[in-house]
Symmetry: C2
């Protein structure tokens, strides 16, 4: 059913692209700059002897790194051959592949083999597949400059062998609906196009037995939700995306009739958008085991944005490409460079949106609320997703808050110093399990100092939160979700609202209901970023000795800096974020029993592995039912350089909460006299035309739909 | 002896400037943008009624802030009158001054008077002088649009009265050789030019009795060192500079024959340069009670740079103006805007230099060592200055280190949240005295857990360190200083060298000699910025309880996180700076008795007033004499975004120290095989031709001058 092209290159870069690229490298501009940099660096490397060592080392070791380096060198040499038409670049690809063709047939399974996904050049088949994805592109580009005899040696000696090893000889991985399977099918399918093996393409797309039970299309079907969300979160999503968009682009080039980018309602293009949407100020939201400094400038997303721009010419993608600040030497990369240079870039439309989790999209959700505040964008991340497998955190109904460019209420992310040998070999630190994954490291309910699902991710995988509702208009976004499986006899529910009030005041309202059959201790931590400025209640600081808050489940890592027992009512905690120099106040309604614990990471951390993180924990020592009602309010500005401080204290004067049957009523008032009523209808069947009625101070109010925000006189 | 001009304006802005400025506001560009912003903001304010309240409140209070606001409104209206030639702006200045002319004669001394420097409009005469500096410029600009009758009312009712109050009626302040005196003389002198009172100018310059014992010239003579260093440090220097350059510019305009900018070998122009030099990556070195976010973009230095550029047209100043990103609506501001727009800006020449302290320049010194490292500039700040009065810290021979844009070995600066009401009214916090000023908050020798001069600044003011030597070439800069007055029976000496080795490796060598007559405990703290990565010795971490390191002198604020007792020899501590993602290793030679304490601020801090600061303290529990020999080595890069880590461990393999009579010999070797000998001659009389001889591993070496750096094979 497939037609295979005889032109080369014809995968991600096409012969037609090459024509335009050859013109572009002669003109000053972004594309030429990249070309010159890549060429200079490659020319330097080509002065060194070709090195194709016998595989020996595990990840990070010499032979591992060398074979990785070779794949990039060949790739760049292939592209450079096309751009310069200088034979030396084709010769370089040929010479290196001839070495691989001599070596590969002699190789057993890698001596350091790891897990079931074994390789020959590498300890993992995953790396072998990545190697082939780059190498087949290199070969495709250099092919017109390689003699028939050499082509035969290379194809027989290495390319076919690797492709067969990754497919027929590794059926478990190849058919697997998992990121590793995607790399394998991409590698084999692309090789099929170049070597004119349509059957390989069919198997890559539909499983070795062509049943469609496995293969690339099944992976597209199952690894993303309909909204393009990948269950491990954006840090992993941008990595998972790479083989998808690369192979899809090759399919589009060779067989546009497959309409691969239209598959599943344009799933891959949605997934690229989602990866961008799940970021703030260039960095990905740190869901699960994320390294917090990863963001939209990663190479995987540079690829995704270029390919999507090539297909759609959406000018908003250019503003992302500007932030990425990296141009690819591909046809799409050229289009991006030209678009930027022509001044076509438009701001990216970051949206308030619900991202369903799981293949069906209905097993929990990630909800992003965004609002334009006075001079910068604000974002609320509400995580009501499934577990996200082994890298998932025990953070059901966690929230994060961003304002004015900075993280304000945060997630610790992963406890890891990536590749720093002295820090546990650069791997996930023991504190990743003992602290970062635990519920108390998050901003969500902890019952009896134990983590959700007792910290058992396989158990958690079986369950997911129920998204109760989401609704919004220009001023208000409201969402609510419930979890009944994280604890034996406790279910809990969280409703969050982002409100834009008069005077560009934007706040977050948070209502957490804990419902136990028996008495429990309920903790609600808030991990805040900044320096504590004031509380409107007395702090009992531990000034001459510190001890850990608890013994396990992350609590053993928290020093108890102060314990407060505020009077019942509205209590406030104000901090100053020192990155954006803004103030934030958390106002919460407490009962007479509520305690507030002020903590700092660092206990039971003999190797100084944990970063400094401060939190306060609202604690209800014993209750069956409890409702936490809180408001987070950004306010004011600290400008020591210009020597002024504006509104350093909370402006909220009234916070009151009333539950009338299924309606939650929150009253808010501010020092400037602004008074508001927020009403949220929690009914299951509420539609946009449903009528709800509540009373407040003797007056009756009726509203339509899920919520109402009234400004009182 | 003085001629007074009849043209207006004729102070900082001249009639000639105005011609050019009127043209410039018609052309698109930086100057026009500023003009439009200032005009829009002023026009909005001018819609509100003029408000000149009876003085009542202290600093920060309503009437205080209102009179300050009025001075800026009048100033901008005066300038706007000149630029637009619209009568309404002159009327606005007139109307407000008429109100002041009615009010001022009725005023007693301000009810909230503070100290001996009293005011009428304000609680301090200082504010009154600042008010007049702005207001006389406003009047000078608006004068051509004000009727003779109104001028008389204004001059008699307020301008003359304020000038007389600040001079004849406040002789103590007016004649004072102090920042407050400078504002008073500037205000009165500038008023003298506008009101044609040459006698006032004479008194402003030479004291009320014209003896020259006080007055502006005496202030220029005594408040700065010959290198333009102001004893309180750059944070205060930029503030002190404002009245100096403003009045000097007015003198230059009216009486160029006084050659005020040539006075004392061009002192004021030097002082502007010095203020810029005492910064790194836009921020001032935080010496003494400095707010750390203050930098070269403060309005005082924007003024200084513009005025200096107007005089010198030095294109390096334009690169500073670009960083300041603020254009002034003055003739000099226009020149700056045009220079930038013409692309004339050149990089500023930040220098390795000795800044003598005190009027004579020989009572201690601040030494700045700079070196261009691989991709960024490095700076060492060595503070061998006098106390710097009441805002000084007890930090004799302290050092700070900057690399790759970030603070690496740091000074806490001031413990203060400027203007944040909740933090002790925005004033200096109690922790400023109890911690930030104390010696242990610095990176210098602490004897027996007591601060230098027992924390008595008046005692410290009587003494100063002795700068022993400074010498440099392209690869090496060496300096040394000694203090014999900070402790009763201990003197100490510190020698610091910044070395540029092969492969762009730049390191700092630090030798501290403590010499007591009796046994003492010697502590050498290093306040580092970053996350601890590794030590080559065992840490005994306090994992389940923390207690303060000590009881007083700042030690009560330090939690003891770990205590180590490393084996004698070269011991290493590596941290990762998370701002620039670079690694830093501190390698030090320890004896068998040396302990290393790892600390963190936060103990005895019930109000969470202290920022988190980490340090390690090298401790010699009992000794009469001890020499600390250490190397700080920047290395490697952490790039979690691109997923690589380079040289995460220290590259230094050998650190050895040998003292041969007056010669210190430091041997260094690195993993890449580079071996070096640094020899420093400590002799008192060493000149550039002196010969010194030392031996190393049986070989004899001779060198000329203060130091020698040899690369061994
Ligand atoms: Zn997490
Ligand atoms: Zn200090």
């Amino acid at each position: 059913a497939s037609t295979v092209s005889a032109a080369h290159p014809n995968l991600v870069i096409t012969a037609e692209d090459v024509e335009a690229m050859r013109q572009a490298v002669k003109q000053p501009g972004l594309f030429q700059q990249t070309y010159q940099q890549v060429k200079a660096s490659l020319d330097e490397q080509m002065l060194l002897p070709i090195t194709v060592p016998v595989p020996k080392d595990a990840g990070g070791g010499y032979t591992h790194e060398r074979h990785k380096k070779n794949q990039y060198l060949m790739y760049n040499a292939g592209v450079m051959y096309q751009l310069t038409q200088q034979q030396k670049y084709a010769d370089y690809v040929r010479d290196m592949l001839i070495e691989y063709a001599k070596l590969y047939p002699t190789l057993p399974i890698h001596p350091q083999k790891k897990s079931s996904n074994v390789g020959k050049l590498f300890w993992q088949g995953l790396n072998e597949a990545v190697w082939l994805v780059y190498t087949i592109q290199a070969y495709d580009a250099a092919l017109p400059g390689i003699s028939k005899a050499d082509r035969d040696s290379i194809e027989q000696g290495v390319l076919r062998q690797v492709a067969l090893f990754l497919s027929e000889q590794s059926p478990h991985t190849f058919n697997l609906v998992h990121n590793h399977g995607t790399w394998a099918t991409a590698a084999v399918g692309m090789t099929g196009y170049v070597l004119n093996e349509p059957e390989w393409v069919e198997k890559a797309l539909y499983d070795l037995d062509k049943s469609g039970k496995g293969g690339f299309l099944r992976q597209m079907q199952e690894l993303f939700s309909p909204q393009g969300y990948y269950s491990e979160g954006p840090y992993y999503q941008r990595y998972a995306l790479m083989p998808f968009v690369t192979f899809a682009k090759a399919i589009e080039t060779n067989e546009p009739e497959r309409k691969i980018f239209e598959y599943r309602d344009g799933l891959l293009l949605k997934a690229i958008d989602t990866t961008i949407q799940l970021s703030y100020n260039k960095l990905f939201f740190p869901l699960n085991d994320a390294i917090k400094s990863k963001g939209i400038d990663t190479i995987e997303l540079v690829n995704g944005v270029a390919i999507k721009y090539g297909l759609t010419a959406d000018p908003q993608l250019l503003s992302i490409a500007q932030l990425q600040n990296q141009i690819l030497l591909t046809g799409d990369g050229l289009k991006v460079a030209q678009g930027i240079e022509q001044g076509l870039a438009q701001p990216y439309d970051f949206q308030t949106k619900v991202y369903g989790d799981s293949a069906s999209g209905d097993k929990g959700a990630l909800v992003i609320l965004r609002q334009q505040a006075a001079s910068a964008e604000q974002a609320v991340v509400f995580k009501a997703t499934g577990q996200g497998m082994g890298h998932g955190h025990f953070d059901k109904l966690n929230w994060q808050f961003y304002d004015h460019g900075s993280e304000i209420v945060s997630d610790y992310g992963a406890a890891r110093f990536l590749n720093v040998e002295a820090k546990f070999g650069g791997r996930y630190l023991p504190e990743n399990d003992s602290y970062a994954k635990q519920t108390v490291a998050h901003n969500t309910l902890v019952v009896d100092e134990t983590s959700h699902y007792n910290g058992n991710w396989r158990e958690s995988e079986k369950h997911y939160p129920e998204l109760l509702f989401f609704a919004d208009n220009d001023q208000v976004a409201v969402t609510s979700a419930k979890v009944d499986s994280a604890y034996q006899d406790v279910w809990f529910k969280r409703t969050m609202a982002q409100l834009k009030l008069a005077d560009d005041r934007t706040i977050v309202v948070d209502i957490v209901d804990a419902n136990g059959e028996r008495q429990h201790q309920y903790d609600l931590p808030v991990n805040y970023q900044g320096q504590l400025i004031e509380t409107n209640f007395k702090l009992a600081g531990n000034t001459t000795s510190l001890t850990p808050v608890g013994k396990a489940n992350g609590y053993q890592h928290l020093w108890l800096k102060a314990l407060a027992e505020p009077q019942a009512g509205m209590n406030k905690i104000t901090w100053l974020n020192e990155e954006n120099n803004r103030f934030y106040s958390y106002s919460t309604l407490t009962t007479a029993e509520t305690q507030v614990l002020f903590t700092q990471t660092g206990a039971n951390d003999p190797d100084f592995n944990l970063r400094n993180q401060h939190s306060f924990i609202l604690r209800v020592p014993t209750a069956k039912l409890h409702t936490f009602v809180s408001v987070l309010e950004p306010h004011g500005e600290y400008n020591p350089s210009k020597e002024y401080t504006l509104n350093g204290s909370s402006q909220l004067t009234v916070l009151a909460f009333d539950r009338q049957r299924e309606i939650d009523v929150v009253e808010l008032a501010f020092v400037d006299g602004g008074r508001y009523l927020l009403a949220i209808s929690n009914g299951k069947q509420v539609t946009s035309t449903s009528q709800s009625t509540f009373s407040h101070q003797g007056q009756s109010y009726t509203f339509q739909g899920r919520f109402s925000l009234l400004q009182l006189d």
